[in-house]
């Protein structure tokens, strides 16, 4: 059963509308940038976990690689920052191509291996031996190209692109075939679905989105250390956001990220350790008692969730 593309357009218009008006009415831009980055990350994880079943604990590896890919093309090749954000996305795709063999792993093994891969990417980029290229552990300064307005719209563009891909997955035959692969790859293959192609496309798209978000984030934040763009929280938060909202849908991760990031902004910024505690408990409780996320509540009362 395919769904109408109208629902996808409505979600896109809503997201665009909210962030376009907040740009003019809401003064705390860095909060909005962070929120959009988390929404994009949660959606990127949703594309992979919700539609293919691979849980990328090391998703932050693509975010960090994207941030560095973007920054280095600006610093060394003097590219226009918007082009550099795309380059950041592509550098994450390159990392994704290198890591394609990980797709042979299943379930927990994939999660652990992807975490190790993200740590390895961090160790390489922050290595003092590479200071002449990546500035090693000393951080990157993009102050010279800082442009809050275009930066903001670029980040919104990344978020809309991500949401559009998720909507496409939700309404297209391709998305359906992915879910068939997720549920039973053998049966899907028997029914004529190209398993390898489906997984590869979803994986590389998800990498690309992680990298785009990292690149746009790097440009907007303009000064960062390797440990801040490879922070494990950048994997954990979006995973919780996506699972809390409900994976395999378009609006689930958006709602989850919106609600929980708001909570984080209210309590978490001042007391990160209390927030970490709350998060840990939330992950445990969610998986044990509500594995389908918030949207599963709506499904229970037979409301169709896009």
């Amino acid at each position: 059963m395919l769904k109408s593309p109208l629902a996808g357009l409505a979600v896109l218009a809503l997201v665009a509308g909210i962030f376009a008006t907040s740009f003019f009415t809401f003064s705390n831009e860095s909060l909005l940038i962070n929120l959009m980055a988390f929404l994009a990350l949660a959606q990127g994880i949703n594309l992979l976990y919700g539609f293919t079943g691979y849980m990328p604990f090391g998703y932050v590896g693509f975010f960090g690689t994207g941030a560095y890919g973007c920054a280095l093309t600006i610093l060394f090749l003097h590219w226009n920052p918007i082009a550099a954000v795309v380059a950041g996305g592509l550098s994450a795709v390159v990392l994704g191509v290198i890591l394609v063999p990980l797709l042979r792993l299943e379930g927990a093994y994939f999660g652990i291996a992807s975490l190790a891969a993200a740590q390895a990417a961090y160790e390489i980029i922050s290595n003092p031996n590479l200071t002449s290229i990546t500035q090693g552990p000393y951080g990157i300064n993009l102050g010279a190209v800082y442009a809050p307005t275009t930066g903001y719209w670029t980040m919104l563009g990344v978020l809309l692109f991500t949401t559009a891909i998720a909507a496409y997955f939700r309404i297209s035959r391709f998305g359906l075939s992915l879910m068939a692969i997720r549920d039973n790859s053998n049966s899907a293959a028997t029914a004529g679905v190209n398993v390898l192609r489906g997984r590869l496309i979803a994986w590389l798209l998800s990498c690309f989105i992680g990298g785009l978000a990292g690149g746009a984030f790097a440009w907007n934040i303009s000064f960062f250390y390797p440990q801040s763009v490879f922070a494990l929280t950048l994997s954990i938060f979006p995973i919780v956001f996506a699972v809390f909202g409900g994976v395999g849908t378009v609006i689930g991760p958006l709602i989850g990220a919106g609600l929980l990031y708001g909570l984080y902004d209210a309590v978490g910024v001042a007391n990160p350790e209390y927030f970490q505690l709350l998060y840990g408990l939330l992950i445990v409780a969610l998986l044990l008692f509500m594995p389908g996320g918030l949207v599963s509540l709506a499904k229970k009362v037979r409301i169709h969730v896009f």
């Binding site: 849980m55 093994y109 954990i236 840990g280 998986l287």
Partner: protein, 293 residues
């Protein structure tokens, strides 16, 4: 040559220690296919328990061992009954356990940060014999030898438990086939709880020595220890928890060689080792035996 000797000796000592680091994880995974990613955080809590036992009551790490093992065993049993049976009912128990224990690891780290702050702490080296040991013309901290010795003793005890007790037989039966073990009358649920407790207790023991091996402890060391533990048990995936011994030795010697010859890239080792071995054995931690369709 001297460097090589130093690297090999310290590598073997590290290796025995890291074998113990991986052992509890391997036992829990082997018995109930639960991926305990909070393993490193349990080690961290073991480390802090040992630190506070000494700081508050002057109980040294060796005396602290039985106290710590028993209390973490009890803690493990509580966690087991609270979480694991529910996970085992999930569609994909391994992935579910991974995510749930990820949450547990966050909780453990957060409580440690709240309780102890983010500062690094360490136990004085003199607690495990202050004077360095001279061997093959090199001098090594005496604490490393004690760490290696006690780790080896703990590993031998686990070996005796698995190979010479009725509970150990039953545990190995569950490891090789859960359903068949249940059908011949093994109390799978109670034994799983017991082994989960033992696994958590075993994780806390190396914690007592982390301060001597790594120099200091802080609440955020858990993740690294988890990754190392996985590297160790994946390398040694021989289908038995004692495969962790081989894994530990390979990992220990490799780490010591890296630290001696390529120190700035040493941190990369566990991650790369883990990925490469996993790709070489895509069937999972225990090799092709448990490969799923």
């Amino acid at each position: 040559m001297d460097l090589l000797v130093y690297a090999l000796v310290s590598g073997v000592l590290y290796g025995v220690f890291f074998a113990l680091v991986g052992l509890g994880l391997s036992l829990i995974f082997g018995v109930m296919r639960v991926v305990n990613v909070a393993h490193g955080d349990v080690i961290m809590w073991g480390a802090f328990s040992s630190f506070w036992l000494y700081t508050l009551w002057h109980i040294g790490p060796v005396l602290a061992l039985p106290i710590i093992f028993v209390s973490f065993f009890v803690f493990g049993c509580i966690i087991y009954y609270g979480i694991v049976p529910r996970i085992l009912q999930a569609e994909d128990p391994e992935l579910a356990s991974l995510i749930v224990f990820f949450g547990v690891s966050q909780v453990l780290e957060a409580i440690a940060t709240i309780a102890f702050g983010n500062t690094q702490r360490s136990l004085p080296d003199s607690l495990l014999g202050g004077r360095p040991v001279h061997l093959f013309g090199q001098s090594f901290p005496q604490s490393w030898f004690w760490t290696g010795l006690i780790s080896a003793a703990a590993i031998v005890l686990v070996y005796l438990y698995l190979s010479h007790t009725r509970t150990g037989y039953a545990t190995r039966a569950i490891m090789s086939n859960r359903q068949e073990a249940a059908s011949v009358g093994v109390n799978v649920s109670a034994l799983s709880a017991l082994n989960f407790g033992i696994g958590i207790g075993l994780a806390a023991i190396p914690g007592c020595f982390v301060s001597f091996i790594a120099g200091n402890i802080s609440p955020d060391i858990g993740l690294n220890l988890t990754v190392i533990s996985f590297a160790v048990i994946v390398v040694g995936s021989l289908g038995k928890p004692l495969g962790a011994v081989l894994g530990g030795l390979v990992y220990g010697v490799a780490t010591a060689l890296m630290q001696t010859y390529l120190p700035s890239w040493a941190a990369l080792l566990p991650n790369v080792l883990l990925i490469l071995i996993m790709l070489a054995r895509p069937g999972g931690l225990l090799g092709s035996e448990v490969r799923r369709a």
